[in-house]
Symmetry: C2
Subunit: 335 residues, 2 copies
DNA sequence: CTTTAGCACTTCCATTATATGACTGCTAAA
DNA sequence: TTTAGCAGTCATATAATGGAAGTGCTAAAG
């Protein structure tokens, strides 16, 4: 158990280090705690024994350890009031009533990224659990047709296809009608299966050249459903602004994680509330922290995450996420 | 005018420096040119007077100047035969007959980026000159509707809208019918105008709450047409791999250019053929070169650009671009 | 028992010195 | 015109040096 003074010292060190990125000396602390630097030093030795603080070298000031950050986040951090400026910027989004949920979230995190200089991600779960609303084709010039797949949540995927010359648009239309009759309402990730056992056996009765057309649609669907999650990444290069990433090697490490789809998928969160993952808990790199939250608004689910250095303004980021979460998906009934 | 030997020396230096990123000394050259290092040095002095070569410091080897690179590209570079490996990777795309032009280009540059470790961009001119094919709405749950704008080239823009409670879907449908009747065939960038003088004056006759609906559509259209060009950027972080960008400050400079939409727009090219812009000519940074080409296939236009350090494998990149250009937009009639 | 002053000690960091290696430029001879 | 050879220049690596910063410890004071 930490004494009151020990907690204050830890808090001071974490917060000051977040601001300055420089190790904190005992002298810097004694003013605000009203005791001598020697006293602080004695306490610091204890905090270091508990692995809450670290030193870069024998005679450097202290910096928070990963454990120290965690202790801070869990026990010492106080909710930070949002500044009027931050609020104002976000409100321009929330007051736009016609904005789609996904667009609103994207815009919010763009703003967060801009005002905090951290990296932000939205990871929607895409259209996986959406149900097929309809399939539509629009014949364009020549043998080119536009095919669209529309889901019940308003997700649209489209793809331009070129038909082999011996296939007429009429035949394709018949196929589309068949699909619409038989497959509408099916969740996207079950469509391939359903096509196989409910459309394929009978398509031959209605459609000439059915094999070619069927395969084309089958491929189009599987491409659409395999499409990687809806990720919106903003402000990757903000990491370049952080002094602890002034080494290109470290930047490389982070960026290669960012490019690795699997790493990004792992960011997905399913816990309630706003969760903070420091360093190794972030699953990305020991050098970064992730603050994230899961949302589920009228069935549209996803994760919003803010990625920054461990030396992150946790209090500010948490309050920003909190603010966004309580404002998105607000009723569109009103007005 | 350069002598034969002088050209050979310049060529050797450029090509060797591209490989090694280290200044080239006279000794390295004399073997392959069959004369002594002193002779080379005498020639190098002359090439330096012409500003084709530079030195980092008094006793360093020579590196090509911007002018030197240009001379190389214009006069010395020989077309490089593509390696079988490179070809093979690209052919997987060109042999996929159902692939849309845009998708094919995107996939190609992804491969180019991967095999060359340079950054690539496709800058389509979006849907600006497309003509409206149709507007469509799909009512979803509650007061949410999906609105889609489809163009003659198969470009689709969609947006989920929330209707105020007192507006019925019926009224929206009427508006859509009106727009389809009056505005179809109009180029996208003239639509706002046309809405204003051909739909607005008469919409009141057919639609209740016409103001609200009209404004909603008007906004949706202007948002769609203002949408920034279709840019597909790949492999930004490849710059981290180049030794001349081991300094974070330089990376910052490049990345901030990449994030600046105007800078990216300027990449658009309208000249014929494949053009090489070295250093300051690149419009991005003195430290990079851009190799780009304009394509116009069945009216779909755009620019493909490859961005790398000045120390770029120009011959390889040019041949890659050439190969892609002669393969995309191949007939879909066959088979 | 807690706090503090003071001092010795450790490490970093910037500066300087020094040696080495890599090249060039120049000169004089081939 | 070409070449050999040497002096001269600069980068780079390594070591030495003198602060500066900040701790740990001890002993005295509260």
């Amino acid at each position: 158990m930490l004494s009151n003074r020990q907690e204050n010292i830890l808090k001071f060190i974490v917060e000051e280090y977040i601001k300055s990125a420089k190790p904190i000396s005992s002298h810097q602390i004694c003013d605000s705690l009203d005791c001598s630097s020697a006293t602080i030093r004695n306490e610091m030795v204890y905090l270091e024994e508990l692995k809450l603080l670290e030193k870069n070298h024998f005679a450097s000031g202290r910096i928070p350890s990963e454990k120290g950050y965690k202790y801070y986040v869990e026990n010492l951090m106080q909710p930070k009031n949002m500044t009027g400026e931050d609020m104002l910027k976000l409100q321009t989004i929330f007051h736009n009533n016609t904005l789609d949920l996904n667009d609103a979230i994207k815009k919010s995190i763009e703003i967060v990224s801009e005002i905090t200089n951290y990296t932000t991600v939205v990871l929607g779960n895409g259209a996986k659990d959406n149900k097929l609303k309809k399939v539509e084709i629009v014949p364009l010039e020549d043998n080119k047709i536009l095919t669209m797949v529309i889901t019940d949540k308003g997700f649209v995927e489209h793809k331009n296809l070129y038909l082999p010359k011996n296939v007429s648009t009429e035949e394709v239309k018949k196929t589309v009608d068949l699909i619409n009759k038989l497959v509408v309402g099916t969740p996207l990730d079950e469509i391939s299966e359903k096509l196989e056992y409910s459309v394929k056996p009978i398509i031959g009765k209605y459609v000439r050249q059915h094999e070619l057309i069927y395969n084309t649609f089958y491929d189009a669907f599987s491409e659409i459903t395999n499409k990687e999650n809806n990720v919106h990444f903003v402000g990757r290069s903000n990491f370049l602004k952080q002094p602890e990433f002034s080494d290109v090697e470290k930047i490389k490490e982070i960026f290669s994680k960012f490019e690795d789809v699997n790493c990004i998928r792992e960011i997905a969160e399913d816990k309630n509330g706003i969760n903070v993952y420091v360093g190794s808990d972030s699953e990305l790199s020991d050098e970064v922290s992730v603050v994230k939250t899961h949302y589920n608004i009228d069935g549209e689910e996803g994760t919003i995450a803010i990625i920054g250095p461990k030396r992150m303004e946790y209090d500010r980021v948490v309050s920003l996420l909190d603010y966004i979460k309580s404002n998105i998906g607000g009723d569109h009934e009103e007005e």
